[in-house]
């Protein structure tokens, strides 16, 4: 059996480290990556603990296929209780750390307690050691990595690192690797900081055995070709993820000026083609870079061009990668800035501090709207002119938040709900969040399916848990039926119309299982049915798993395991106080989705709101698909069907 992998339990308080093999029956139930992390978290985390206290549990895990040659098996998943939402924290990054951790001998690391002083974990060919991090504490994301590489004389060490934002306990700090790859949501970097854990450094030369090498080479080529031949991936391989922002903004699906509008007009300077020109000018004709074993190569390289703004902040010529569409969201449409200078500078700052571009952009945009309405004044902002479109204010606020300087900087570092409580003055009603995490930059008022997705997402407002993005492609009904009826049949009606509420609950449920599946495999979401309708999923994974690892799983078994892992995430949330209609902990949208009509974009988007009653109907349907009661709590039959009746079972 090729699939012999290990988990390590690391107690940072006592220094004790325990290593355990992952039995195949546990593997079959929870697959790997995010699913296995959910199992470990549910078993090790006690309910109700302070997310920034020593009792929180941090789990770093990599996909079942990590370091095999299946396409883009580069993903690392990080879990814990979120200091942002006080519910499940879960976040995912690409890069090269996952493969290196596998080659170093481990698939999951569970951190308990808190180190006495700044420390880092060294993982090398099966050995694990807690080391002093004095030389890198306080250093930026990249400086930390370059320093340890230099100290050890090895350029191939890979890291999962928290930046200064994590050390300063900004509640939405990232775990990062390389230049910019970010596990960027729900504040897992702050959990690292709270544990005095600066980074995990991994280096390995252990063999990852491929079960059927000759066939695996053949099948992997076929699997990769299915991915790289898709138009979305060819576009992404040239323009990066900004093309997504461009398409969404074109029809009016990008929240602008916080939530005042749904389109950033005349934004040619930050359109993907212009960003590509900057990359070409500063980094050459071939300016795309890739994660481990990925042929899509969606990440652009750039150096910050000369501009008065870059000059003022001392950033001219700095090398970085991206920006991703989420940075266009956080630093362009949400804050009303149409210039590439703000985008490229802000993107660099958040990469260096190690902070979530979406959350920090949303917090600044929200503060700007409060400033627009006079709820915040220049006295509150310590002189920063927080008007929409002021790029200098965006950069200044990033510094203040990450360094926790000034009253407003400290307030915004606390995340939406705590900041609203600190500011008061009715500020909460302007927040665009679910479960205490700000929404990404997309505006879902015209797309009920996508709105349901953010409302029921386990980690708060987010597209990467269950977004039926292909709902916007007006796919023929029979094509939709084929995609959404595999591997389990769906007998109900599906609608090709993104404005409809019909069948959307099933699409969201299906996508939830698809995204859990891909996160368990440790494959990038751009390689499954997310942006491209015709990309691999359950049937293809069954094959790629078998050829690479020898594990035999049917597509339906993968589907059921994904359902099980999603339910575990839900169980964590239930333990932490989930209530269906609770504005802070429930499956609800901000009132503005129901009350404020969209004002810009394509003709049919104008005036769009989410119908409150129809939304509730869709949500009830979704609960039914999941096997939950009308309150969103799983029924005893569902718990039994998914084999979760003995959880926590403490098998690892």
């Amino acid at each position: 059996m090729a699939l012999n992998r290990k988990v390590a339990i690391i107690n940072l308080t006592t220094g004790q480290i325990e290593s355990k093999p992952i039995p195949i029956d546990v593997r079959k139930k929870f697959l790997g990556g995010r699913g296995m992390n959910a199992y470990l978290l549910y078993n090790y985390l006690k309910p109700g603990v302070d997310p920034l206290g020593p009792d929180n549990v941090l789990v770093i895990g990599i996909g079942m296929l990590a370091a095999t040659m299946a396409s883009a098996t580069s993903r690392t998943d990080v879990m814990g209780k979120s200091p942002l939402t006080d519910m499940i924290g879960s976040t995912n990054m690409g890069g090269f750390f996952a493969a290196e951790l596998a080659l170093a001998g481990y698939h999951h690391l569970v951190f308990l307690g808190k180190a006495e002083k700044p420390s880092y974990l060294w993982v090398h060919n099966g050995e694990i050691e807690i080391r002093d991090a004095a030389s890198v504490w306080g250093k930026s994301v990249t400086d930390t990595q370059w320093t340890i590489r230099k100290e050890m004389g090895d350029e191939d060490i890979k890291f999962a690192v928290c930046g200064p934002a994590g050390e300063n306990l900004v509640r939405y700090a990232n775990v990062m690797t390389g230049i910019k790859n970010s596990a960027g949501r729900t504040g897992m970097g702050a959990v690292m900081g709270s544990k005095n854990l600066k980074c995990v450094a991994a280096r390995g030369t252990l063999d990852i055995k491929i079960a059927h090498p000759t066939q695996a080479l053949e099948y992997n080529k076929r699997f990769i070709d299915l991915i790289t031949s898709a138009k979305v991936n060819q576009t992404m391989g040239t323009l990066g993820t900004p093309f997504i922002w461009g398409a969404t903004n074109s029809w009016g699906g990008c929240r602008t000026n916080n939530f005042q509008y749904n389109q950033l007009r005349y934004a040619d300077d930050i359109e993907p083609e212009h960003l590509d020109e900057i990359s070409k000018e500063t980094c050459g004709e071939y300016n795309m870079t890739a994660c481990f074993n990925c042929q899509v190569h969606c990440r652009a390289k750039y150096k910050i061009p000369q501009s008065p703004l870059a000059e003022k902040f001392g950033l001219v010529g700095k090398y970085d990668e991206g920006p991703e569409y989420t940075s266009q969201g956080g630093f362009c449409c949400e804050v009303g800035c149409t210039d590439a200078a703000t985008l490229l500078c802000a993107n660099h700052l958040v990469d260096q501090y190690g902070v979530d571009n979406l959350e920090i952009g949303s917090m600044i945009a929200w503060a700007m709207e409060l400033y627009d309405y006079g709820i915040l004044t220049s006295k509150d902002t310590d002189g920063v002119d927080l008007r929409f479109g002021n790029g200098e204010a965006v950069l200044e606020m990033i510094h203040r938040i990450c360094q926790k300087k000034t009253w407003l900087g400290q307030a915004l570092a606390e995340g939406p709900i705590r900041a609203a409580q600190k500011i008061g003055r009715d500020s909460e009603k302007y927040l665009i969040h679910v479960k205490g995490m700000s929404n990404l930059h997309s505006d879902e008022r015209a797309t009920p399916g996508l709105a349901l997705n953010i409302a029921v997402s386990s980690r708060g407002s987010d597209h990467l848990r269950s977004r039926p993005a292909i709902d916007l492609y007006h796919l023929p009904k029979d094509v939709m039926k084929r995609i959404y009826s595999s591997p389990v049949p769906f007998e109900g009606e599906l609608s090709s119309d993104h404005r409809s509420y019909e069948g959307k609950a099933w699409q969201v449920f299906w996508q939830e299982n698809c995204f859990m599946g891909v996160d368990c495999m440790g494959i990038c979401k751009y390689h499954t049915t997310f942006l491209g309708a015709t990309l691999p999923n359950f049937e293809d994974w069954a094959r790629v798993v078998n050829y690479n690892t020898g594990l035999e799983l049917t597509p339906t078994e993968i589907w059921t395991a994904a359902e099980r892992c999603n339910m575990l995430e839900k169980l964590v949330n239930i333990r932490e106080g989930f209530k269906r209609d609770d504005p802070h902990k429930g499956d609800v949208l901000a009132d503005r989705y129901h009350n404020e009509p969209a004002k810009r974009g394509a003709p049919d988007v104008i005036g769009a709101t989410i119908d409150r009653e129809k939304f509730k109907g869709m949500r009830a349907e979704f609960y039914k698909h999941k096997g939950c009661d009308e309150n969103g709590i799983p029924t005893p039959e569902t718990i039994k069907r998914l084999g979760l009746e003995n959880e926590p079972s403490h098998l690892l």
Binding site: I179, L206, G284
Partner: protein
């Protein structure tokens, strides 16, 4: 005239740094993923986004071949490659020390030297590299395409200079 054998060519500016070539190389030769076993290695300067695939050049007058004390290394002219005969090799690693490209590797698990063998004419690194940062082309054509690329660069640079001059 005898047909010229093909050769591996690196277009380093194209490399995205994904390292799939390393993975498939190790799987092809040893049935495992392990970059330490790969005959190709991407050297990275991550802080500036520079990635360079390093491979065996299959030199005509190969230093590894010349230095080998037991004559275990020889040229196979049919595929224009330099090969190690493991029945003769004593594992002294003189070849590793002398290779100017660092392309002769030492596999610390099996305790033997390893190098590119062009996968017997079907190099997997090339097959999997979509962007063709490594390519397998007729040896005679390598400089022809390089010449054309260079000529194009020079022409467009000249064009730009003329435009700038005109603006002044």
């Amino acid at each position: 005239m005898e047909a010229m054998a093909k050769t591996l060519v690196v277009n380093q500016e194209r490399c995205t740094g994904c390292r799939l070539c390393e993975s498939v190389c190790a799987v092809k030769h040893d049935g495992v993923v392990n970059p330490m076993r790969a005959r190709i290695k991407i050297e990275k300067w991550e802080h500036e986004g520079l990635y360079v695939p390093m491979i065996c050049q299959h030199c005509q007058d190969a230093p590894c071949m010349n230095v080998c004390p037991v004559k275990a290394i020889s040229r196979d002219e049919a595929l224009a490659r330099v090969m190690v005969d493991y029945n003769t090799c004593i594992g002294c690693r003189s070849c590793v020390a002398v290779c100017p490209f660092g392309a002769m590797n030492f596999n610390t698990i099996d305790k033997k030297v390893i190098k590119c063998d062009l996968c017997d004419g079907e190099p997997q690194c090339v097959r999997f590299c979509d962007i063709k940062a490594v390519d397998y082309v007729d040896a005679a054509k390598v400089s022809i395409s390089k010449k054309r690329d260079a000529a194009l660069r020079m022409t467009s640079a000249q064009k730009k200079a003329t435009e700038l001059e005109a603006e002044m």
